[in-house]
């Protein structure tokens, strides 16, 4: 498992042409794009309006599909010219052949998935590599709010406890332990706070965590 805190590879990130479709630069997309090889076949789980797929298509010339449950998002994907399969992630990825993708991405959706173990298992099944990003519950501002006696509400976790879709929040440490227990070998990690990459004490200072992993050989 790769646990060392790598320095920011700014070259990787600045190399990426910012697609015209991205009205505002999404640093989280750039992290993912930096990991994706040009021309790769990508599956984006919970793809929303397809903006990550658009970004990757223009930055990395990828092909592939998004999976999305919400009607409005599916329509937005159509409008963005993104291949989308309307389907519930919770019921698995039966539509997809084993080992049929180079990357399967779960971008800021892990914490909202009910059957976390199954989705990670399915990701490892359909793809050579998995990429996951999620808000780090161990972020210091979250910790402070819990210390003060409240559930955290922040930029990365913008919901109240009673209306949050985020039912499975975790910290960097939690996720790494989970990977170890579920046959996922972590290949790379990036931790961000806003536009900035976090190298020091990532579990405390990182707002958003990114992991690239593969099936434990």
């Amino acid at each position: 498992m790769k646990q060392d805190h790598e320095a920011v590879n700014t070259k990787d990130m600045t190399d990426i042409t910012i697609p015209s479709i991205a009205h505002s630069f999404r640093p989280d997309f750039a992290v993912i794009a930096a990991w994706v090889k040009p021309g790769a076949k990508v599956l984006d789980l919970g793809c929303g309006d397809g903006s990550l797929m658009c970004f990757l298509r223009e930055a990395r010339n990828i092909r592939g599909y998004g999976v999305e449950i919400d009607d409005a998002n599916v329509l937005a994907c159509f409008n963005n010219g993104v291949n989308v399969i309307q389907s519930d992630l919770e019921s698995g990825l039966q539509s997809f052949e084993s080992a049929s993708f180079d990357y399967v991405v779960l971008s800021q959706t892990l914490q909202a998935v009910k059957n976390t173990e199954n989705i990670i298992k399915e990701m490892l099944r359909v793809s050579k590599e998995g990429i996951v990003s999620f808000p780090n519950f161990g972020y210091w501002k979250n910790r402070l709010q819990v210390l003060a006696g409240n559930m955290p509400v922040s930029e990365a976790l913008p919901y109240q406890w009673f209306d949050t879709p985020n039912i499975h929040n975790c910290t960097l440490g939690d996720f790494e332990e989970f990977c170890g227990q579920h046959g996922a070998r972590i290949l790379e990690r990036r931790v961000m706070s806003g536009n900035r990459q976090v190298a020091m004490m990532p579990n405390l200072l990182g707002m958003l965590a990114f992991y690239r992993f593969e099936q434990q050989k």
Binding site: Y65, F78, N83, I85, Q86, S87
Partner: protein
């Protein structure tokens, strides 16, 4: 029927083909005619043509109306027109009555030149593959090398699928709506009950009812009533009719009492007045026989290896005759072949008939997809 975006008055055209057509069942049709309608203009690059294939009881009259009958709106008027989801300002849209039909194309009720009589039961059993072959000839006649899209719902969706398999270079996009890559046993069973209703009608005369000056009305009516039940959902029927009584109280008899009975009988009568029983038999057989995976050891993915088109696959949540699961099977086969495909499962209460209904989300999806097609 006329609305602000309607394409207005339309006129069907007929084309005759004298090159023999070899059908899948081994017979040869020396000549035949197809009736078709077009909407919009074919562009100079001839790249904006869209073929819309019809379902069991549909025909070539997709949109607009006939001058002598303002109520003669096309069956997909809500989808096709200027500014509509399939926009006739962008696309040149073609509707064709399939071979074996009863709305102007050569079919069982047409005169067989060899005998001087109606074909009747001698008209060959045609298949989806045969229809695609005849549609290709129509495309050639119209000077269209490649369709921007071939679209259809139900049996029409099967034709769109077949196009991508038989003529992968002649179709860029396929819109496959409320369709299936093959019928289930239950579906074939429904079709056979419908056929039995017609065939056992004493006015059927082995399919030669034309020469007896009658039509097997009772059978056709029952077939339609049965079909209609399966095209609707339990919920839609409950919402529309419930247990409403026509006259407010029970009559303790067998005449029409419940509103649903009245509705079904009306639909049956209307259909029996305008549809040919032999055509109904042929259309249901084409449905039953469609199974592109069959010659690939029942491997649908292998069947789609030939396809190159981009696909839009749509299903409706309450469609139990062509359920979302059937559409998902198509999607899986397309994904296995790394084809461009988008799939949406539309929430609708109208069962299989949903594909004909006005629905905001459904129409927006089709519009968004059609907008993305480069012509």
């Amino acid at each position: 029927m006329q609305d602000s975006n309607s394409i207005g008055i339309v006129e069907p055209q007929i084309v005759r083909f004298d090159t023999p057509m070899h059908l899948k069942n081994g017979t040869v049709l020396d000549s035949y005619e197809l009736v078709y309608e077009t909407y919009g203009e074919l562009n100079t690059a001839r790249s904006n043509a869209v073929l819309v294939c019809h379902a069991l009881s549909g025909n070539h009259h997709l949109a607009g109306f006939y001058p002598d009958n303002p109520k003669s709106g096309g069956w997909w008027n809500n989808m096709i027109g200027a500014g509509k989801s399939i926009d006739t300002q962008k696309f040149f849209v073609i509707g064709v009555n399939n071979l074996g039909g009863c709305h102007g194309s050569t079919g069982p009720a047409s005169i067989n030149a060899k005998t001087g009589k109606c074909y009747g039961p001698d008209f060959p059993v045609v298949t989806v593959e045969d229809w695609v072959q005849t549609q290709v000839r129509l495309a050639d006649h119209l000077g269209i090398d490649q369709f921007a899209a071939v679209a259809g719902g139900s049996l029409g969706g099967m034709q769109a699928l077949q196009w991508t398999l038989d003529f992968p270079d002649r179709v860029r996009h396929a819109l496959v709506i409320a369709a299936a890559a093959k019928l289930t046993a239950q579906n074939i069973a429904f079709n056979d009950v419908a056929r039995q209703a017609i065939i056992t009608d004493q006015d059927f005369y082995g399919g030669d009812y034309y020469s007896h000056g009658v039509v097997p009305r009772r059978g056709l009516r029952l077939a339609r009533m049965l079909g209609h039940i399966t095209y609707l959902s339990d919920d839609a029927m409950a919402a529309k009719f419930g247990r409403e009584l026509r006259n407010g109280s029970l009559a303790f008899g067998f005449d029409v009492e419940f509103e649903i009975e009245s509705y079904l009988r009306y639909q049956g009568d209307k259909f029996a007045d305008q549809f040919d029983a032999n055509t109904y038999l042929l259309m249901t057989k084409a449905l039953d026989y469609f199974d592109p995976a069959y010659q690939h050891n029942n491997d649908l993915s292998a069947a789609f290896r030939a396809a190159k088109a981009n696909f839009l696959v749509l299903s409706f949540t309450t469609d139990w005759r062509f359920s979302p699961e059937r559409s998902r099977a198509i999607v899986r086969a397309l994904l296995d072949n790394e084809l461009n495909v988008s799939y949406a499962e539309i929430t609708s209460s109208h069962g299989h008939d949903s594909f004909l209904m006005e629905d905001r989300h459904y129409h927006r999806l089709v519009r968004a997809y059609m907008d993305s097609i480069v012509v």
